[in-house]
Amino acid sequence: MEGIKGSKDRHFHINGSNFVLFCAIIVVIAIFTSINHNFLSYQNFINILVAASLIGLVAIGHTYLIIAGLNDLSAGSLAAFSGVVAALLVKNMGFNFWLALIFTIVIAVLVGVFNAWMVTGIKLDPFIATLVSQAIFRGFAYIISNGKAVPISDKTFIKLGNARFLTIPLTVWILIIAYVIFGFILAKTKFGRSVYAIGGNKEAARLAGLNPNRIIYTCFMMMGALCAVGGVILAARMNSGQPSACVNLEFDSITAVILGGVSFTGGVGNIGGTVLGVFLIQSFNTGLTMVGVQSFWQYVARGALLLMALATDYIRKKNAEKIMLEDSMRNL
């Protein structure tokens, strides 16, 4: 745990609300450990990170999208679709793994273009637009696979799921690198700043010389790529591309992002919070399984966590307003 926090501190800004989240993680760990002592172990920690690799990647995309005032409900479908596409390319078309990966990413990015087009071109609400692609690409995942899991025998492909580097699984490395890169882009570049600007006030940002449509396209395309990589990693871990995988992935991811302090109304949040949010939700999921809670109850628990996340968002906003008002009363 301490190791994680230390490394985050250098790359990401840990603020007050992130501290609350950090405490929540400690509480969750304490509770699960008291029920099952194996919870607090290096091996379990790594297991949680491996399990978090998919939702972690998707949550990066959601962080950008929600800060920009957008959203994406098609992430789970797209990840499953990508896993199936990659598996099929390798199995039936004889592609080598790397070519299949690139191809899959390109297709998923095009899906992102489609999502962005629905939002900017025909002015659909992002929720509705991505509900459309959620249905369509879940459907395509079943259609191209005939509704069955597509087995993977390619060695490189499988290796992606279980290879280790410096004792840490490759998938965890991918996650860490992705967070460092996308965290840097969000915090330090003009693209990142533009994402915050259009999420705060799209019209004002446009009049200030930004190009909201280009930013919206970029965010959705990025999300497409992240879903593709996440889906391919999952397929590698399961040795097959499964059309029924990743149902409700987007909800877990959005929950994690909101828990991490990204405001649902846009314009506010950071990657550091998302790291903690993802870790909280994944340790929660893993913990519930480890202590033997019936899986149906896990849905209820996740709903409760989402409610908690939204309530935290609301309280945070109320508090900010209160502080601003008190400030004004003191200074005016």
């Binding site: 330090k188 570049t189 003009k190 693209f191 700043r193 533009s194 915050y196 600007a197 999420g199 705060g200 006030n201 019209e203 004002a204 940002a205 446009r206 009049l207 200030a208 010389g209 930004l210 190009n211 846009g266 314009g267 506010v268 307003e321 601003m324 008002l325 400030d327 004004s328 009363m329 200074n331 005016l332």
Partner: protein, 504 residues
């Protein structure tokens, strides 16, 4: 029965604004009390506190000596307080009677509505008011004035109506409609209702009000009988200082340079065929009624609205502004009218609000922002435009209106523009800040910028501009030089239009 509403030490804060401070006075039965004051003086805020829309930060109000605290407008209406707003709150597809008795239609014990009874009672009110309409008429078929009267009838139909307040009721009414509204107000008054009346039109206030309460910058200035004060005294108390002096003391640019911007036959979805020129160092005023196409002309020039046809020349060179970004690169910027929706990034602090227009200039080839460069821009912006803020990290919403506006000006001036378009730049800011802005605008002209000033305040346009273009019905109806401008002349061009198309 005599009713009294008393305000005691009402104070209201919003983030960054002290909207009302220590307001105390009372309203009595059978009088029309007018609230007067400039934009932002706190008139509407006070009404919203009385009808439960806002909660006072401190202080209280009493009805007939009893302390009240309405948490929402419905509670105020129950207690006999109704506010008629400028924007109509009627349901267009319902009949007059259904609107009047909305939410409390007479019904039997099974909940079946007794339409006849509603119509009968509405007909009574209509004849009480001496109007010519039927309870069964659909509201959407009525004129705006009559729709407003339906709202008044709605308030009036409650037996316990004690106080009725009007917030700028005549803004969109014709003279004869105003007369019928006044007839109804006089009737309400004669029946012992309290009436509060908010308007910017002095003639109306002199005609209808018995007493005035003057507010200035959220503070209570005084409470006078209509006969006690002259119009000039009222204005002086509202404004607190003579604006004429401010205009006379401006350090105006004397040397107007070459042609800077030529707009030829600009046409968008919202303006038809606008042509004019702007010179270096010139302040060009745009006058006209709201909706005449002034803002839309500006939006067309900077590419915020799509230009359907027409040409733009900057320093003799043809330019194309397909988006505000293009315009900015070409050196033409617009400081929009509505600060909150079009200017401020409320999630950003002061510093980021200044630099957001310059993120291209402040980043390297890989798009990485240069913090040092940004900080320098922020510091010099805060210094040069005298933005009052404890630090650049302060949330921009916490600043006063004038300082928010200065922040946006700093954002735009950091992009080194050649043409500056200001749309209602002093709306909702106090008079001290206004004077500062006027000086700033003159300074920009002296630096050789071309300034287009869109303003609905005639003294402001006439006081600042070297030349004034008047628009009417989405095209230019006339052009006047500063020395030839008069309020009457400009209004005539704005409302009636010019002869031989107004061009001198």
């Amino acid at each position: 029965m005599d009713n009294v509403v008393e305000f005691r030490k009402i104070t209201k804060y919003f983030p960054g604004v002290k909207a009302l401070e220590d307001i105390s006075f009372s309203v009595h039965s059978g009088e029309v009390l007018a609230f007067i004051g400039e934009n932002g003086a706190g008139k509407s805020t006070l009404l919203k506190i009385l009808n439960g829309d806002y909660q006072p930060t401190s202080g209280e109000y009493l009805i007939n000596g009893e302390k009240k605290h309405f948490r929402q407008p419905s509670e105020a209406i129950e207690a006999g307080i109704s506010v008629i707003y400028q924007e109509r709150q009627v349901l267009m597809n319902l009949t007059i009677a259904e609107n009047v008795f909305l939410g409390r239609l007479p019904a039997d014990k099974f909940g079946i509505v007794n339409t006849k009874e509603a119509n009968r009672r509405t007909a009574e009110i209509i004849s009480d008011f001496g109007l010519d309409m039927k309870p069964t008429d659909k509201v959407k078929d009525l004129s705006i004035a009559y729709q407003q009267i339906v709202e008044i009838m709605k308030a009036y139909s409650r037996d316990n109506l004690k106080l009725i307040a009007f917030d700028e009721p005549t803004a969109s009414l014709s003279d004869s409609e105003i007369e019928s509204l006044f007839k109804i107000i006089r009737k309400l008054k004669s029946e012992g209702k309290m009436v509060i009346y908010i308007s910017h039109r002095m003639e109306e206030i002199q005609e209808i009000a018995d007493r005035i309460v003057i507010l200035k910058d959220g503070k209570y200035v005084g409470n006078y009988g209509m006969k006690e004060v002259t119009e000039e005294e009222m204005i002086r108390m509202m404004v607190g200082r003579n604006l004429g002096d401010i205009y006379d003391n401006l350090d105006r640019n004397k040397k107007i340079g070459d042609v800077l911007l030529e707009v030829e036959h600009l046409k968008t979805d919202h303006v038809k065929d606008v042509s004019f020129t702007l010179h270096k160092g010139e302040i060009l005023g745009f006058s006209g009624l709201v909706g005449a196409g002034r803002t839309e002309t500006a939006r067309g020039i900077i590419g915020a609205d799509k230009m359907l046809s027409g040409e733009l020349y900057l320093e003799g060179k043809r330019i194309y502004n397909k988006s505000p970004k293009d315009a900015m690169k070409n050196g033409i910027i617009l400081i929009p009218e509505d600060r909150k929706t079009q200017g401020l990034l409320t999630n950003f602090d002061v510093g980021n609000n200044i630099t957001v227009g310059s993120i291209d200039a402040n980043s390297n080839n890989f798009g990485v922002l240069n913090r040092k460069k940004e900080n320098e821009m922020v510091q010099s912006g805060i210094r040069e435009f005298k933005i009052k803020t404890p630090s650049a990290k302060k949330k921009v919403l916490e600043l006063s209106g004038g300082n928010q506006q200065k922040t946006i000006v700093a954002r735009w001036m950091s992009t080194n523009p050649k043409v500056l378009i200001l749309d209602e730049p002093t709306k909702g800011i106090d008079i001290g800040a206004k004077a500062e802005f006027y000086n700033m605008i003159c300074k920009f002209a002296k630096q050789g910028l071309g300034v287009i000033l869109i303003s609905s305040e005639l003294p402001e346009v006439m006081g600042l501009s070297d030349r004034i273009i008047v628009m009417k019905s989405r095209e230019i109806s006339g052009e006047v030089l500063r020395k030839d401008a008069s309020e009457e002349g400009l209004l005539k061009l704005a409302m009636i239009g010019g002869e031989n198309n107004g061009r001198n």
